[in-house]
Amino acid sequence: MRWERYILPLSILLVWQGLSSLGAIPGHLVPSPYKIILGFKDLVTIGMPPGHLLHDHIRYSLYRVAAGFGIAALTGIPLGLLMGWSSRLRGMVGPLIELLRPIPPLAWIPIAILWFGIGIKSAAFIIFLGAFFPVLLNTISGVVSINPLFLEAAKTLNASEKDIFLKVLLPGSIPSIFVGMRIGVGIGWMTLVAAEFTGVKAGYGLGYMIMTARDIQRPDEILAGMFVIGVIGLLINWGLRICESRIIRWR
């Protein structure tokens, strides 16, 4: 049922508000939902730091994610397709990938700032690192796990290697590519916010906003900001799912 998904969040909110109003929860640590809504209003109208309004923070953050994720997709998908197709290439490049993958994107921040300075380039780089590996690995998986039956059917129709790549491997791996993209953008978004803790240019960005709110002891704005981050992440995922269902109509 559609409405069932709202039962749990609403119950939590009601219980929370109740306990806060009764004073059972320390208000300076955990603001009541009502206070958080007020905090949200302040973020929108006054801004944190004052003058830097919420919608501008959102804009900057989204811009950084779009840049980093865009590069991750533009490099990860083609490389993934080629690596999926050629076991030789997989063998040559794979070990390097597996070495780099466990390094958390955030661990790259110091070197990124050294290389690119503080700004969109270093931010995009960090997000790229977060998004690239899921995109690459899922694309490879998509190609490698194509039912060999389809390859054989194509061969019996006298398909060349190029035909097989373009007409079988590519369309067949699109679902996996989308999975990789959704995971990649999700990780990219999370990474971004954390990366913004350590420094942003021009003082804009959701991560930066939350950090500033902490600096001046506004937990209501912190939580309101976190909620916004969660909602935007949800919307991005949702948006990709819609794209996916428009493009993949064959399941």
Binding site: E152, K155, A159, G172
Partner: protein, 250 residues
């Protein structure tokens, strides 16, 4: 087919498993020939070798005097699991081979639509395979193969996944299509009734390693009645031969 043999394994010191042994046979143009044999005897392997998907360990295949040039000659293969490309509609599946050949769009579509009509798929040409019934999917698969006008049509238990009623319908369908076109068909099945109903000749393969045990000429006039005495007689003969094969294996 001349002296076709095939073994698997043998690499890394493993056991060599001979599957086919010295298959020697000649099929006449335009005939419908069934390959039948005990389960696992290698009939699918033989078909795949003819199709070019696998290589024989030894022996050669000739088509009208010359060896088959895979990649140029088109040997059609209809799979038991249909193998339709799920991301393509029925129509797009049918025209796939022509697309690969580079046939221009309008011609491709024209030819494909003809097959859609002729095979009773009108109205479903823009559906995806998962939206089609088994019988329809197989018809699409057959159309996809036949539209290429292959030198040879191979069918690997194409109706095995269908319920028995649809199966009977599809048998009549394939006979109709064959009689209109005159393709040379090699049809693998383990269903004796099906083989007797459809074929000009039935080739019985032995157990592994398979050789040709016997070949039956089914000179029953068409259209055939599944329940006729003549059909029954042939059925009995083939079943008997298969029974012998099983006994020999123990």
């Amino acid at each position: 087919m001349s002296g076709i043999s095939k073994s698997y394994g043998g690499e890394r010191g493993g056991e060599r498993v001979p599957v086919l042994k010295d298959i020697r046979y000649r099929i006449d143009h335009g005939k419908f020939v069934s390959l039948i044999g005990p389960s696992g005897c290698g009939k699918t392997t033989l078909l795949r070798i003819i199709a070019g998907l696998e290589k024989a360990s030894s022996g050669r295949l000739f088509l009208e005097g010359r060896e088959i040039a895979y990649g140029k000659d088109l040997i059609g293969l209809v799979f038991q699991e249909y193998a339709l490309f799920p991301w393509r509609t029925a129509l797009q599946n049918i025209e796939m081979g022509l697309e690969i050949m580079g046939v221009p769009r309008r011609q491709r579509l024209g030819a494909a639509i003809e097959y859609v009509r002729g095979f009773g798929l009108s109205g479903f040409e823009n559906r995806y395979p998962h939206e089609l019934s088994g019988g329809m999917q197989q018809r699409v698969a057959i159309a996809r193969t036949l539209i290429m006008k292959p030198r040879l049509v191979l069918m690997d238990e194409p109706f095995g996944s269908l319920d028995s009623q649809t199966r009977n319908e599809m048998q009549e369908f394939i006979l109709q299509v064959w009689q209109q076109r005159g393709d040379t068909i090699i049809f693998v099945t383990h269903n004796v009734d099906e083989a007797v109903f459809l074929s000009d000749r039935i080739v019985v393969l032995s157990r592994r390693p398979a050789t040709i045990s016997r070949s039956f000429e089914i000179d029953c006039p068409r259209p055939r009645d599944r329940t006729s005495l003549e059909c029954n007689a042939f059925r009995r003969a083939v079943l008997e031969e298969l029974r012998k094969e099983r006994k020999i294996g123990g």
